[in-house]
């Protein structure tokens, strides 16, 4: 109770400095501008920090700074070169090289040969393909946040969903694609839904905090996956992978190989619209959001907190499972170990960056897809380890969650109080 009143007070306490500004519609700009400003500045600041880390840990730059007072120009030039190479290859890996693309178009116009063009847009299509699971996984965590639940289990739900859809994909033969594909997708969603429902149910009935429970489910899913891939679901051969799925279960691709961009992307966008409609245009969605905003108030209004917790976690798990399914059915066509690696923390960052709103999640997922896709190129071209993206990601999470920091850094005034309320102690 104390906590709620404190927050309400914080929201309502007039800020004498900005009172006149607020009447004019906001501190340093309009409301939409403010909502976009913090995430954008957070990303920018994160990238700046990333640049410092990249340059600061590069052996040649460190050596150059050893000679700083004798040759300051070299040190600065080396720093700039390292950062430029790193971020340049990041960009090239994410979008491709503009000159190559133009050349490819020219070749196509001249000779009708698509190959050069296709190769030039390969990085861009790979980024789009990488965005697909991020949209769905980000939506999963966002739905959880909307109900006040922190679903860190997206990684486990992703993995289980992938295994379920792969199983349906390779074990059932002879079905036409318009039955097999939806069935496989549904299987993935169902697997993830169950994996999410368990911690949701435990939270609803016993009050056990979903943070630790979903993390435990993650570890259980890793062990379970290992067993399945080395045992019942193992393809003939040495590697612990599933057999390849049937053609009828594959998500159709837009371009000939090696491009892997497929209909999963469109599906993910459609699901985002669906989630938006569900959360903001249906009664059930409103109940979930009400429980998230104030569980006691919702209970007083007659909504079942238990049912909504379970519903939200099940939905969240289903979305994460669907993310795994699209990855299998659209990109890899088989499942191996560490299949879901990284999607867990990424989806948390995406949901936070997108302010838990479906459209924000799509934008944030877009950014993340490009970053991750480019990072592989950065690793091979500039020798910068992939994990720098995790550092940038963590920093972005902090900056988005502590807008006061960004505001202090860039001297922005507050338009209206913002607060992300997720913690309710360990559940009681």
């Amino acid at each position: 109770m104390d906590r709620n009143t404190t927050e309400m007070k914080a929201a309502q306490t007039p800020d004498p400095e900005n009172a006149s500004k607020r009447r004019r519609g906001g501190g340093s700009g309009g409301r939409v501008f403010q909502t976009l400003l913090i995430p954008v500045l957070s990303i920018f600041t994160g990238l700046v920090f990333g640049a410092i880390v990249i340059a600061g840990t590069d052996a040649s730059v460190i050596a150059a700074y050893g000679n700083f007072f004798r040759a300051p120009g070299t040190a600065l030039k080396d720093t700039w070169n390292v950062i430029a190479l790193a971020y340049g290859s990041l960009f090239a890996g994410a979008f491709g090289n503009p000159t190559t693309i133009i050349q490819g178009i020219q070749t196509y116009n001249a000779t009708g040969d698509q190959k050069a063009f296709l190769l030039s847009i390969y990085p861009f299509t790979e980024s789009l393909a990488a965005i697909t699971p991020y949209i769905l996984a980000g939506l999963a965590v966002a739905v959880g946040f909307k109900c006040g639940l922190f679903n860190i289990g997206a990684e486990g739900q992703f993995g289980i969903g992938a295994l379920c859809s792969a199983f349906v994909g390779y074990s059932i033969k002879g079905l036409p694609w318009f039955i097999h594909l939806p069935l496989a997708l549904l299987a993935g969603a169902a697997g993830g839904a169950i994996w999410g429902a368990i911690p949701g149910y435990l939270k609803a009935v016993t009050g056990a905090h979903e943070v630790v429970n979903t993390i435990m489910m993650n570890y259980i899913s890793f062990s379970l996956g290992d067993w399945l891939l080395n045992g019942p679901m193992k393809a003939p051969g040495f590697r612990p992978i599933t057999p390849e799925i049937q053609d009828s279960a594959m998500l159709p691709r837009f371009f000939p190989p090696p491009l892997r961009f497929n209909w999963g992307f469109i599906l993910a966008l459609a699901i985002a619209v669906l989630v938006y409609w569900f959360l903001f245009k249906t009664t059930l969605g409103m109940e979930i959001r009400a429980v998230g905003a104030n569980p006691d108030g919702a209970k007083y209004a007659g909504m079942s907190v238990v049912r909504n917790f379970v519903l939200a976690m099940t939905l969240s798990g289903a979305l994460a499972g669907l993310a795994g399914a699209t990855q299998v059915l659209g990109i890899d066509h088989w499942v191996g170990q560490n299949f879901s690696s990284g999607y867990g923390f990424d989806s948390i960052a995406i949901a936070l960056l997108g302010q838990s709103h479906p459209f924000g999640v799509v934008l944030a997922a877009g950014l993340w897809g490009f970053l991750r896709s480019g990072a592989t190129n950065m690793q091979s071209m500039a020798g910068v380890p992939l994990d720098v993206i995790s550092i940038i990601q963590g920093l972005v999470v902090i900056f988005v969650a502590a807008p006061a920091m960004i505001r202090w850094l860039y001297h922005i005034r507050l338009a209206r109080a913002e607060a992300i309320v997720l913690t309710r102690g360990w559940g009681h």
Partner: protein
Amino acid sequence: MATTIVQEKEKRPYFRNRLVIGLVLVGTGLLILLLFGLNVKAGQMASYELTPRGDSQVIPIPGLTLPVQTSIYILALVAVFLGAWQLARGIRSNGVLVGVVAFCFVAAFLLWATAGKSMDLIGVLNTSVVRATPIALAAMCGVISERSAVINIGLEGIMLSAAMAAVSAATLTHNLYIGLAAAILTGAILGAIHAVLVIRFKVDQIVSGTAINIIGSGATNFMSARFLETNTEKLNNSGVFPNITIPLLVKIPILGPMLFENNLIFYLTIILVAVLYVVLFYTPWGLRTRAVGEHPKAADTLGINVYLTRYVDVIIGGMLAGIGGAYFTIGSIGRFDRLMTNGKGFIGLAAMIFGKWNPIGAYAASLIFGFADSLQVKMQILNIPIPSEFLQMAPYIVTMIVLAGVVGRAHPPAADGAVYEKQ
């Protein structure tokens, strides 16, 4: 009048709880019978060595040889009996009952797994106590932090960073103690960051902890790839704290070799648990901490500086987690591997909840988790029909069962997780 109303309110959930627990206990007894009792051949014996192999100063005692099937039947009987008693008459202390039956189940499992073979029981006990160390330290960090109502789930990030700092510093300076100091410093810094984010910037505590986990694992992976994996000799080869044998105490049978032949970090942990318990419950500072955790506003009106208390507690917690991180490298294998904590930080949090935010309770809980961990390794060697992956799941499933309040609801400090605004 008031008491009758309270009694009325307590009756129904109490009865249902008793029914559920009773049924679960009886069910467990039957499970013991079916899974283990019927799967062993009559007449098989299992022998447990109670004197460690190799040279040790302990007074040797003979091992234990048990008839497997009979023992399992007895254990099943005990479980069913306790469950039936609970259903019929009802016993107040649920926790003790569940503990006893859980012990029966584990003992029956052990008997079934070692039927016809022999097992070095002391070795398993020693390993469990040692493996419980990082979990215990993580739990201690959680306890002191949450006693002042700041949730700290960034333990994985802190432990990984401290582990890497420890091994690098120790390798560079050829001095393990400097490595330990580096780990403590890293833990303190990360704790301070969490404290600043949560207290000064009012970031949601779980989000801040998650961010520290993300940055911790990302930064250590990055540094490992950039520096440690290419410069192993200069940065990732520290050696390990040697085992220190305490001369007289090690002669005690069973407890001696289990507890008194371990390294510095283990002894430090035991001492810290005791110190934390005394400080938290018997010193003014501990009282202030607990006051801030239960009702910060009241504490504030009494003149206690809520913010300062929380800062100090979270930073000390960070230092404890730092020592926990040091265990993984300079206390165990002498090098850093990526993501080597493998969830131990979160298990530490579960131990804290299981131990009801009490240092000694949390340590006991960590011992249980350590036992599960060491058993899992042993079972893989013993070659039993259960696939090793399922054994790996055991600690995590146990955590979930514990959190579901099987051993009773746990009540955290009242202001846990709430933002405090001085007014």
